[in-house]
């Protein structure tokens, strides 16, 4: 296989199918110029979404003021880590989700009064992929995911929502919906397949 040609066609396809990421420029300005106005744009758009996600996913143990505190923590990380954002690899949406997710995991651990100090980012770290072609396929896949999500049947949306937005494991979703674990797993797999996320098992 000729890599150059392959790369070229991937670039063409990428340009055809990828909507520019409107937020990437704001993140860049925050990284390079510590630009307050750009950060405020991100703040305005994302903080109500981060807050909504945390209120759903932090569990019944979390109150509004804790969700607020974690929302602030997420935004501080967005400011501090802006230079590590790689627009070739992920959208700003996904990047901010992963920061919110990790901050939430950390909060839950702290609440458990774990005596072992662990940096959650050591485990849920941003896996670097040094392969640009893979990055491009990734970004293309994101468009497919976006479009396919709108067409999913309700029962699949429900399990995805519980898994990703409420932060419930397969087992917890099965228990809550009184479904066999296998049913939860197959609903999620069906949904993922429609979004072209083809996991072997």
């Amino acid at each position: 296989m000729d890599n150059d040609i392959d790369m070229e066609s991937a670039v063409t396809q990428l340009n055809r199918s990828t909507v520019p990421d409107a937020w990437a420029e704001s993140v860049r300005l925050v990284a390079v110029k510590r630009d307050r106005a750009a950060f405020q744009v991100l703040y305005k758009h994302f903080s109500p979404l981060i807050r909504a996600f945390l209120l759903k996913s932090m569990g019944s143990g979390a109150n509004r003021s804790e969700a607020e505190e974690i929302t602030q923590e997420v935004l501080i990380k967005v400011w501090n880590k802006a230079a590590t954002f790689n627009p070739a690899k992920a959208s700003v949406n996904t990047w901010i989700f992963t920061i919110a997710r990790n901050t939430r995991i950390d909060f839950i651990r702290r609440n458990d009064r774990n005596n072992r100090e662990i940096d959650i980012e050591d485990i849920w770290h941003d896996a670097e992929s040094p392969e640009p072609l893979v990055d491009m396929q990734q970004r293309r896949a994101e468009q497919v995911i976006k479009q396919a999500m709108a067409t999913l049947p309700e029962e699949q949306v429900q399990v995805l929502y519980k898994a990703f937005m409420e932060g419930k494991s397969h087992n917890e979703v099965a228990e809550e919906l009184s479904l066999p674990l296998g049913t939860v797993k197959s609903r999620i797999r069906l949904a993922l397949n429609k979004m072209q996320i083809l996991i072997d098992r």
Partner: protein, 228 residues
Amino acid sequence: MVSFHPDSKFLTDFAAGSLPLSEAVCVAAHLEFCGKCRAHVQQLSDVAAQMMVRLDPVVDDNDGFESLMQRIESSDPAPAGQVSNIAAKAAVSATGIPRVVEKLAGGSLQNLNWVKLGKSLRIAPMDIGCKSRQTAIYDIKAGRPMPEHEHRGEEITVLLKGSFSDADGKYVKGDFVVRYAGERHQPTATLDTDCICLVSLEQPVKASSWWYRLMEPFVQYRLSGFSR
């Protein structure tokens, strides 16, 4: 070539952040060896992000931007342009052991408390503060048969170094192998080379042979609470 991967349940729960720590460490170790699963986790995070941006926004009545900026400016160590871009990290460190494992071991596997069990096996429990499971590193000398044992709970093994084979195939570095409760390991398994594994165990393994004698100190050790 890695050929045993975590299934969609592991990868989804990992990307959603709901996978218990012991299992998450196993998935993270596998990801350092496997670009395919890394791509899947990234896609699953895209799914989550798309769901997040479709939530009904919860707007705070008083805009906290100014107070947030004050908080940032009072602690911001990095002036403009000086935040260095993190270069692409090599997936695995110089020792060949995944970074996640070395970090949790305090920099090196040598820092762990190793318990020698006979001539060919040593085990180091890893305290990662996960209540539902035991996590440990197994270091097994080459040429020995894998101990035959039966599982009362789920066991995840991630091969960090070396290889072994059994009737199901050959397992190499990076492979993520899950054994379920009641399953019996193939007694014919042999170690092809020295072997280091990361193991996450739901419940103590019920030994069906000399393995029990080997495991006993580990079980004792575990009961004593993994004190370091």
